[in-house]
């Protein structure tokens, strides 16, 4: 569908500078003006009814392209992890996936850092960049060989691509499915100390600093590792950190009774680390909150805990969970959308994620108060593996526009 000129009136615009009542006008898939704007003759007029007019969410790190779930959650762009079958280590696969969601969802494939994500030989990063990869990722794996990691970071720095890493020291993590502590001990689950994360973060920061590369730690979930990120940022290292709602909403208590919907990678941490994540979101150490969307059916989840696949279907609950942080006073509304849209868009180098002139007209109308109940059986996602099943949530997207075109209409 060709975008028509569109004016959203009577909304509360979520801009980097704050919330302001106003009007937003789009033309030719871009935002052309906002604030005190008069609709042009012939514009389609949408009345936001005082609700939030926010940038569409840019989800940095999903494991599958699941359009209904993304649209429910207000996601207009999703960065696809290279952990596919086969892995995204070839330009042709990257190119195919980069077009797979258009027009109403833009998929930004993340190139596999190494062939087969095996951590040995660098993949064809430049060819994949030119085929549409917006960044490089190590997947849900750790590159054990520091020599390979340094070569990767130097090469990616030359190509000006961010390297998205998974921070878990493989030697410590081994076949662990839980964080060492009383919960794992009681359940008798293979576990690794939480320090496995800090070790990996320390190495990756040191190497990125040496290489002059941009490093994005996709999930930082422990106090020790967050302290390292905080210190590195203070030194001026080009490091950013992300997290998914599971790690600020839940602690390892959620794995009681072997609930596989709470099996995550990295595993859920203890309560003190959960608090540390919230603190880090509040003080700006964490830059990105992503869904880590990974819908998994019973064949992957209705198994003994250690045999089940990690991950959760997170796209639909992402916004509501971040809004809990706004209601709790940890962050304000503009910062919520910086975490969800502006920062990930900047990392990926796409002209979206903020309401500003010239940006892509990816817009979500949000009712931040709207109550609803998360229900595993009624989700839009291709599987309902959410640890928030039957929990009340607040905040829903009421309409979504991708490039100035209403999604789902």
């Amino acid at each position: 569908m060709k975008p028509v000129a569109l004016t959203i009136v009577n909304g509360t615009l979520v801009t980097p500078d704050g919330l302001c009542p106003g009007t937003l006008r789009c033309e030719g898939a871009r935002i052309v003006s906002l604030g005190d704007v008069t609709p042009h003759v012939g514009d389609e007029i949408i009345d936001a009814g005082g609700k939030l007019v926010a940038p569409g969410i840019v989800d940095l790190g999903v494991f599958t392209v699941d359009k209904p779930a993304f649209h429910f959650g207000g996601i207009t762009r999703a960065a696809l992890m290279p952990d596919q079958n086969p892995p995204l280590d070839h330009p042709a696969r990257v190119q195919f996936l980069a077009y797979s969601g258009k027009p109403d969802l833009w998929v930004h494939p993340l190139a596999a850092a190494t062939v087969g994500l095996e951590g040995h030989n660098l993949a064809e990063l430049a060819l994949m960049r030119d085929a549409g990869a917006r960044a490089v990722a190590t997947g849900r794996r750790w590159i054990a060989d520091s020599g390979v990691m340094l070569r990767l970071l130097r090469y990616a720095a030359m190509l000006d691509m961010v390297v998205v890493t998974h921070a878990e020291d493989g030697g410590l993590a081994g076949d662990a499915v839980a964080t060492a502590g009383i919960m794992a001990t009681r359940l008798g689950l293979p576990s690794a100390p939480a320090e496995a994360e800090a070790l990996a973060v320390a190495r990756d920061i040191a190497l990125a600093e040496l290489a002059g590369a941009r490093l994005h730690l996709r999930q930082v979930t422990t106090r020790a590792a967050l302290d390292l990120v905080r210190a590195a940022k203070r030194r001026g290292v080009a490091v950013t950190a992300g997290v998914t709602p599971a790690h600020f909403m839940l602690s390892d208590i959620a794995t009681a009774e072997f609930r596989t919907f709470a099996r995550m990678s990295p595993p859920l941490r203890d309560e003190a680390d959960r608090q540390a994540v919230i603190e880090a979101i509040g003080d700006g150490t964490i830059d990105v909150v992503a869904s880590g969307h990974d819908p998994r059916g019973p064949e992957d989840k209705r198994l003994p805990f250690a045999d089940a696949e990690p991950g959760m279907a997170g796209a639909e609950t992402l916004l509501a969970m971040v809004l809990t942080l706004v209601r709790d006073g940890v962050i304000d509304m503009p910062r919520a959308f910086a975490l969800l849209a502006a920062n990930p868009a900047a990392l990926l180098g796409v002209e979206a994620g903020v309401l500003a002139e010239g940006m892509e007209a990816d817009i979500a109308l949000v009712d931040p108060q709207k109550p609803w109940i998360v229900s595993s059986d009624k989700m839009e996602a291709s599987a309902g593996n959410t640890p928030f099943d039957r929990q009340p949530a607040q905040g829903r997207v009421t309409a979504l526009y991708k490039g100035g075109v209403r999604v789902g209409k």
Binding site: D175, T185, A306
Partner: protein, 349 residues
Amino acid sequence: MTATPTPSASGRFPAGWYAFPHRDLLGIGQLQTHEIMFLLAEAEQWVELNRQPSKHSNSLSGLTIINAFFENSTRTLLSFEIAGKRLGADVVNMHAAQSSVKKGETLIDTAVTLNAMRADAIVIRHASSGAVRLIAEQVDCPVLNAGDGQHEHPTQALLDALALRHALRERGRTEFAEGLWGLRVTICGDILHSRVARSNILCLTALGAEVRVCAPPALMPAGIEEMGVKPFHDFDAALDGAEVVMMLRLQNERMNGQFVPSTREYRHLYGLTAKRLKKAEPNALIMHPGPMNRGVEIDNDVADLEGRSIITRQVEMGVAIRMACLEVLTRRTRGVPGWSAADMAGEIV
């Protein structure tokens, strides 16, 4: 053994199913102290029966019990089989090696299949923690956990408590006739990989014992002190004042990588030798859930020490405890007064 009168269960526990309001026995962690004591009390009659020349009861006559063992076992399987047969039930053993599990069938499908065969109780052993609970959620009959991964092995802990109670009673320690308040127990060995250790920690602490656990750091689970036990790395210190010493073997089959330099070195630090046993209380009892690695965690002369080692007693009590568990859990199916579905009115937990 002296003919000590068996205490009767009546009058000391809540009436009917309130005494044991569980459909399954998945772990000691789900039980209240009085529920543990109830099972121990119920087992006494079966200890008596098992010592008669004719060891048969018809209580479970007509019922089918499936022993589904997804992990190899000799003694536990045999013990459950004998327990079921002595109660008059039809017992069927399913070995993983012969099952369709090897052909790729999922655990859930196996559970559904077992359920469709209308078993009246299923006894399960599985190599993954939590697997038995997962199967229990899919079937309509009582499920008994015969060991799931590194999680729990409840009947082992119950039989250990029963064996202890008997041995202490014979020694005239009347203060332990009911609970084990203040009894100093040292558990030494591969605590990390041991479901027996976890169930025993839960059971012994529930009964009031002071439990110490001893292992090298690599074999000690994180946060174990939060389970109410005192961790030790020095075996001599852990033995000081111990009235009961429970040894566990190294579970090499569950180890991923090297946890101890060699069995020789392990024996040097953690082997229960006659000399080391002297650090414990005189007359301290010696226990081992088996199978033993003689010459590694326990020396021959200690394992066979007359009057001190109750290792064979543990095996004997195993049959009685499993009879008690099977008999109690099938009361609903058998419509025992006070235990029927109508009595429970859907309140089962």
